[in-house]
Amino acid sequence: MSRLLKVTDIKVDFPIGKAGFFGRKTAYVRAVDGVSFEIQRGETLGLVGESGSGKTTLGRAVLRALEPTSGQIVYEHNDTSVDIMGLDRNGLRAMWRHMQMIFQDPYSSLNPRMTVRDVIGEPLIANKMAKGTALNDRVVDMAQRCGLNVAHLSRFPHAFSGGQRQRIAIARALILHPEFIVCDEAVSALDVSIQAQILNLLTDLQVQLNLTYLFIAHDLAAVAYACDRVAVMYLGQIVEIATTEKLYYTPKHPYTEALMSAIPEADPSQVMQPVFLTGERPSPTNPPDGCRFNTRCQYVTQICRESSPALKEGESGHLVACHHAGELTLKGALEHGASISTETRAS
């Protein structure tokens, strides 16, 4: 596998509060604070974290759909390294043909005044890449790949259910044959049975079209299912990245442990025994000194309050930002209740 994307020390600031008299901004909140990671061609990297952890902001910043404050983004395209941050507006627009996004809410992401055919075909027209019968052929082909019926194409989005709308949004994102897709909570708003259909569709399309996904979600079970590797974010920073199995079964960061142990497994004989986090999540406007998790971590020591741990590689491919990463033995998903048999539960 070759590298597709390398992100280094990316930061995103948002101004908060009112602008001053001369338009000066008074304060900033750092939504993403020095994040670095790589994505290999053809893989799915999951990005998880609680609301407000900065995962959506990071997803957008990687595409420069939202302008990062600083950092480097290098994208490998046709055997050349493209510096995304150095591109001008036209250069960026040209690169966006290869990088697309799928959003959470299929109700607000589709224009209600356009037919499905126009919605899916619009990127081709905007980029002057096809017209006439060629345009129609490509729209029909992509719609069918996404499980839509040709008869659906002349209808408007309101005639479709959430799952069908998400298929339309996927077809629109893929019509330009991009290489890299940011899926921002793409299955979160869907019912269980439909979520399974869309997850399966994304996987099939990945194989057929050789796609690379950045899969942002808060549903940890769906992420485990869809991703090769997973990164965990807390207060704007990545605290752990590893392969899915390693991250879920043998987490090395105390925050990952709290997340994993809190997943309610759909099995009544597996009684959940979560590691409860104490206190409230600190505000991103005023993050704690040292390790950002130190205010809620049960393994906290003096060093955690003083210095911020770097994201370091312990085992190969398993990166953790914790001073005590090597010393702690942490619970993974499903480790709870493994010893509790069905009989004791039933009684």
């Binding site: 069908q164 049975s193 399974a196 497994e265 004989s269």
Partner: protein
């Protein structure tokens, strides 16, 4: 009514008034809630689970009404049984039950509190209305309740406004408010859906303790089968306004019988076996709209065991697979008849 049954819902129908036309939304459901038990009503969006829970307290929106059926509630103090479905929606008797004997918590902790009053005033209002307590007593009780649901520094929190609370704290505040009059039944409508997973675990733990320590009976509305497995004693699976399968949680998860339940359970991503990932079973098609309800068993267009002429003709009657496990499906109906003959 049996002694330990608090709520006995019989053949409940809810219809939507759509420009003078009656559209059936909930079509004759039956369930019982026993003391100290958690019953989960499970289904995908549009199955009628939330409307059922609202109907129990007569909180249905204006365009919806209970068209027939009974909601028998036994008051644990007086031991008298009343039919909530037969009462006017705004009578004194129902107000006395609502919040006092049966309390409800909602999905949206953000919109369930008034922004203009302190948390303590809002919990205290319930206490003063129902228990005729003084302001000082109400305040003291509010602090106790906030403490019980795990809010740190309850004496300070009682004077805070909802905007000062995080989402998880607001949901705890909601539970505290619901518990104010020590109700015998708690109806929880998707109480953890809007919360992060670590907060969800905390809320589930509070609810589990309520059940274990106080013997609270609950009706838990959710679409999340993981949450159901962790909290429920009994499960009723709903599809398009009908209960299709009902039984104890262990039985439903280990031994599901209705094709919808079987497919639903295999469609959830599980952590137990990550090596087999990326091949989820899904249910083809999607839930039809209320106005295009398929005749007979509403699941038949999506079902692999569909029998033409039977499933699309009539809704299958109840089959009692065991004393505790019920299903509505012709697959078992024929089997049952064979055994009988």
């Amino acid at each position: 009514m049996q002694n330990d049954v608090l709520l006995d819902v019989r053949d409940l129908h809810i219809t939507l008034d759509f420009d003078g036309e009656d559209i059936p939304v909930v079509q004759g459901i039956d369930f019982k809630l026993s003391a100290g038990k958690v019953l989960a009503l499970v289904g995908e969006s549009g199955c009628g689970k939330s409307l059922t829970s609202q109907a129990l307290l007569r909180l249905l929106p204006r365009e919806l009404r209970i068209s027939s059926g009974q909601i028998n509630f036994r008051d644990p103090d007086t031991q008298s049984t009343v039919d909530l479905a037969s009462m006017p929606a705004e009578c004194k008797a129902i107000r006395n039950i609502r919040g006092n004997h049966i309390a409800m918590i909602f999905q949206e902790p953000m919109s369930s509190f008034s922004l203009l009053h302190t948390i303590g005033n809002q919990i205290g209002e319930v206490i003063r209305l129902h228990l005729k307590a003084t302001k000082a007593e109400a305040r003291a009780l509010s602090i106790d309740l906030l403490d019980k649901v795990g809010i740190p520094d309850p004496a300070r929190a009682v004077d805070q406004f909802p905007y000062e609370f995080s989402g998880g704290m607001r949901q705890r505040g909601m539970i505290a408010k619901a518990l104010a009059c020590n109700p015998s039944v708690l109806i929880a409508d998707e109480p953890t859906t809007a919360l992060d997973v670590t907060i969800q675990a905390q809320i589930l733990e509070i609810m589990r303790r309520l059940k274990a320590d106080d013997g609270m009976s609950m009706i838990f509305i959710t679409h999340d089968l993981g949450v159901v497995a962790q909290i429920a004693d009994d499960v009723a699976i709903m599809y398009m306004g009908k209960i299709v399968e009902k039984g104890p949680v262990g039985e439903i998860f280990k031994n599901p019988q209705h094709p919808y339940t079987v497919r639903l359970l295999s469609a959830i991503p599980r952590l137990g076996d990550l090596s087999s990932r990326r091949q989820l079973a899904s249910i083809r098609g999607s839930v039809p709209s209320l106005f295009e309800r398929p005749p007979g068993c509403a699941f038949h267009p999506r079902c692999d065991s569909f029998k033409p002429g039977l499933c699309d003709d009539q809704f299958p009657p109840l089959t009692q697979l065991s004393p505790i496990h019920e299903v509505h499906c012709f697959l078992y109906q024929t089997a049952g008849e064979e055994v009988a003959s």
